[in-house]
């Protein structure tokens, strides 16, 4: 290879990398991404911007050459002759083979470094078990025994998630943390990150997991260490509706209505069912807002209590017209305590 070519390759690669660096450090691309709520997000975004810088230049070069050629080299009217035959150009071909090679090598090394940085397991992280199930999330804090369906995290403290699934594959994703991890049945998938920004962010399931996939959402609340400790000490009290605290943990409130709502929420019924009282809007199954009346009329000779109870524990014994069978999970009977089941049935019948 001629020295001149080598020179061209080095210069062009350096220019591309310099643009990438410039964009990474100084161009505001924050409108392309949600808020940065973890330390990881900062590093990932820098890498992303670096790649955007290079990508933009490559994009402009290629589309620019294309548009230039289209405008400049059109056939002249009446000119039926062929163009000057050129079969190739070794220099050019070497240049456009090596520059992309250099660029992807740089991107590859940079990606690798970011990866090792964000995946380093910290000492003494806060451990949170993430238990996913069609179509709900549950979060358990083994150190304190608290369990809730909204994720609370103290700011600036490293967390290690241990992600599990009870049925099919789900994927735990917090866009503001810039990371997701699949929940694979039969194994525990780990994920580490450090939340860095107080606020509330959505948790979304990213892996198709059935009819309620889009509704498989929850929320992460990143709060100060004190708020977090207070929440843990209160046993994971969840603020579900205006000012009325109801625990989502194992202790049920005394008020039967509140207790029923807790159970209803805890088992993710709202992902599939609309229930005005619990402010849920699921559409996979029939609305339960009027179930107290409907239940009494569904099956002849079956009273409302038995009907609702069997709808929950033997879901497929009777399938409501127009709704699919086999969709509503059929293991609630095993998962709920008898007390929870009673509370839930009473709650539904009061609707």
């Amino acid at each position: 290879m001629k020295e001149r070519n080598l020179f061209a390759i080095i210069v062009l690669s350096l220019v591309l990398i310099a643009v990438g660096y410039l964009v990474a450090t100084s161009v505001d691309l924050s409108w392309l991404m949600p808020a940065q709520a973890s330390e990881r997000a900062v590093l990932v975004d820098r890498l992303f911007r670096f790649m955007m810088g290079i990508a933009t230049v490559v994009f402009l070069i290629v589309e620019g050459a294309l548009i230039y050629a289209v405008l400049r080299f059109r056939q002249k009217p009446g000119d039926e002759s062929d163009a000057r035959p050129v079969h190739g150009n070794n220099t050019l071909e070497i240049v456009w083979t090596l520059i992309p090679a250099v660029i992807v090598a740089v991107i590859g090394v940079y990606s690798y470094r970011v990866l090792t940085e964000v995946e380093r397991v910290p000492d003494d992280p806060l451990v949170v078990r993430v238990i996913s199930q069609q179509f709900s999330w549950r979060f358990e804090y083994p150190e304190s025994g608290v369990s809730a369906n909204v994720l609370h995290l103290p700011v600036d403290r490293p967390v290690q998630f241990q992600i599990e699934s009870r049925d099919v594959i789900h994927s735990f994703w917090v866009p503001e943390f810039r990371v997701k991890r699949d929940a694979t049945p039969g194994q525990i998938d780990e994920l580490v990150l450090t939340p860095s920004q107080i606020g509330r962010y959505p948790i979304r399931c990213a892996e198709l997991c059935g009819p309620g996939h889009a509704a498989m959402v929850s929320e992460v609340i990143v709060e100060s260490e004190e708020d977090f400790q207070a929440w843990i000490e209160a046993g994971g009290v969840e603020v579900l509706d205006a000012g009325k605290g109801v625990p989502a943990g194992d202790k049920l409130p005394d008020d039967p209505l509140a207790a029923g709502r807790v159970v209803f929420t805890k088992y993710g019924c709202g992902a599939c069912h609309t229930l005005d009282e619990a402010k849920t809007g699921g559409i996979v199954g029939p609305s339960l807002s009027d179930i107290g009346r409907v239940a009494a009329e569904r099956l002849q000779g079956v009273n409302a209590v038995d009907y609702v109870r069997s709808s929950i524990v033997e879901t497929d014994a009777f399938v409501v017209d127009g709704y699919p069978s086999g969709v509503m999970p059929n293991d609630f009977g095993e998962r709920m305590t008898p007390e929870e089941l009673d509370v839930l049935v009473e709650y539904l019948l009061s609707q």
Partner: protein
């Protein structure tokens, strides 16, 4: 002019298209027409999906229906449209381009076509027995417990895999053994190189998917426990099997398209292809490398984290041969005398849109970025830029380019251009906003989304409708021109590959005399290419 007049007066017997026919040209047309029908089916499903997503909330489809529609949209588009339509081009063109009389195994060839209609019927029939609803990826365990239609789906994809394998065997054998006298490997048209690279990938990768699907089908109907977690089955195992085929499938869907546009650029630039060997070798390089990248679809899964690194590296390296192709095409049109016919427009559109698909592929290969954008609308946008902006553009380019050869008629350029612009604007309008949706946090395959994604989704839906409408000028043009368009000469584009040396449409035996390769297929500017009216090329049969 005996050949041409014969072809003109001969009454085309359309009934032969509905029979077991071993003529590769009949089979090619059977492929093209049948698969276009499935394209429309897949497109109609996409319209429903986009309509549902036109606003937040679930109005048109519920969660179950939505999953069924998206599963069938993806499966129909991939397994019943893009992969087989490209095989259709291979069928029609390979023997003509290498100067052969037919395929190496004509009966096998007919069989590979006739497997497609029953497979298509099975897939569509699955709608009526509780359709497949776990995505075209059919991840276990979701797909093991899905309703009966999932079994029909699996059988359908198995059949289509066999069809694809039979086709590949034919392509490879035909190319290796039946080339015209004097045609060496470095004389092969680049479309044939592309099909060769594709066929080799099919031969290596497809049996894996077929085997995996048989395991799923057995789990479902025979009570085996290959994927049962409780019995020690591993869901990640299926992902390995699936992507071992389905990543190469991306190249199976793009390499022939790259071949098509490599034919079109030289003809309409009146220049030799730039870097012939580099393009041919890069196709082979992609086909080999493409077999080693599959786990980049699994960076978020439960796979061994250390193993992600090699897959990131191989995935990024693929950018190099892909870049070589793009730059070589630019080199071809550079300093040419460009004619903006409809196929040329689609080929130029291919470069400009495939580029976006290619660049965003590097983002997805970078593990830290992928952990954010994987399984989001970013991926949906990326794959549609590759498969719609890329493959489908190439298919349209090829349909227009070879339309005169296949039908013996000319299509209407004006309608062709209307079609191109609707398609080009529709593609960008539909898929560009999806990148933003994904980056900002919208997962893929959702029937409903948070209100902040309304704007981008509405743009995408408008773009999708435009794409849907864009098929109308094409269909009208194709049908009317085929029936009573002006007669096409044998070589209307003054091209140099061998298929243009015989009449349009070619006689049943392809060539009156066994062709001898005399002119290298891209010698524009070096030899005189005459059109039929005056020249020696088309009157070869006299």
């Amino acid at each position: 002019m005996s050949v041409n007049t014969a072809a003109m007066t001969e009454k085309v017997d359309w009934r032969k298209y509905f029979t077991w026919n071993t003529d590769h040209k009949v089979i090619g047309i059977q492929y093209l027409v049948t698969t276009f029908f499935f394209f429309i089916v897949g497109g109609a499903l996409a319209m429903l999906v986009r309509t549902e997503l036109g606003q937040p909330g679930t109005d048109l489809l519920d969660g179950v229906e939505y999953n069924r529609f998206l599963t069938n949209h993806g499966s129909v588009m991939i397994f019943l449209w893009i992969i087989p339509v490209l095989a259709g081009f291979g069928n029609y063109l390979i023997p003509l381009m290498i100067g052969a009389r037919d395929m190496a195994f004509p009966n096998l060839n007919a069989l590979s076509f006739w497997l497609i209609p029953p497979a298509g019927v099975l897939m569509i029939a699955s709608f009526f027995v509780g359709s497949a609803e776990s995505g075209w990826t059919a991840y276990v365990p979701l797909s093991v417990t899905a309703p009966l239609g999932q079994t029909l789906w699996a059988v359908s994809v198995i059949i289509l895999g066999v069809s694809s394998l039979l086709g590949a065997i034919n392509f490879v054998t035909t190319t290796l053994t039946m080339r015209a006298e004097g045609m060496g490997f470095w004389d092969l048209p680049l479309f044939v190189w592309g099909m060769l690279a594709t066929a080799l990938m099919i031969l290596v990768a497809t049996p894996m998917l077929t085997a995996g699907l048989i395991l799923i089908a057995l789990d479902r109907v025979a009570g085996t426990l290959f994927f049962d977690v409780a019995a020690g089955g591993d869901p990640v195992f299926w992902q390995n099997i699936f992507w071992f085929y389905s990543h190469p499938a991306v190249y199976i869907m793009i390499l022939p398209g790259m071949g098509i546009i490599s034919e079109i650029f030289p003809v309409f630039s009146r220049k030799p292809i730039f870097g012939y060997k580099a393009i041919a070798i890069s196709s082979m390089a992609i086909s080999v490398l493409g077999l080693t990248v599959w786990a980049h679809h699994m960076f978020t899964s439960g796979m061994n984290p250390a193993l992600r690194i090699p897959y990131m590296i191989t995935s990024m390296i693929i950018a190099v041969p892909t870049g070589i192709k793009i730059f070589s095409w630019l080199g071809t049109i550079w300093d040419g005398k460009l004619r903006f016919t409809t196929p040329m427009l689609f080929a130029l559109g291919f470069i400009s849109m495939f580029l976006i698909g290619g660049i965003t592929g590097i983002f997805l290969a970078s593990i830290p970025v992928d952990l954010h954008v994987h399984d989001t609308y970013f991926v949906v946008a990326h794959l549609h830029f590759v498969l719609f902006g890329g493959s489908v553009s190439a298919v349209y380019a090829g349909l227009y380019y070879w339309f005169p050869k296949i039908t013996g008629r000319k299509y209407d350029e004006r309608l062709g251009k209307v079609h191109f612009w609707m398609n080009f604007i529709g593609t960008n309008l539909s898929y560009l906003p999806m990148f933003l949706a994904g980056l900002l946090g919208m997962p893929r395959r959702v029937v409903d989304y948070a209100p902040e994604f309304t704007g981008v989704n509405q743009l995408a839906t408008v773009g999708a409708y435009l794409l849907g409408l864009s098929t109308l000028p094409f269909l009208y043009n194709a049908i009317v021109s085929w029936a009573r368009g002006p007669r096409a000469e044998s070589n209307p584009w003054r091209a140099l590959t061998l298929e243009w040396t015989t009449s349009s449409p070619p006689p049943e035996h392809n060539f009156d005399e066994r062709p001898v390769m005399k002119i290298w297929p891209y010698s524009y500017g070096e030899v005189e290419v005459e059109s039929e009216a005056t020249g020696p090329v088309a009157s070869a049969g006299d």
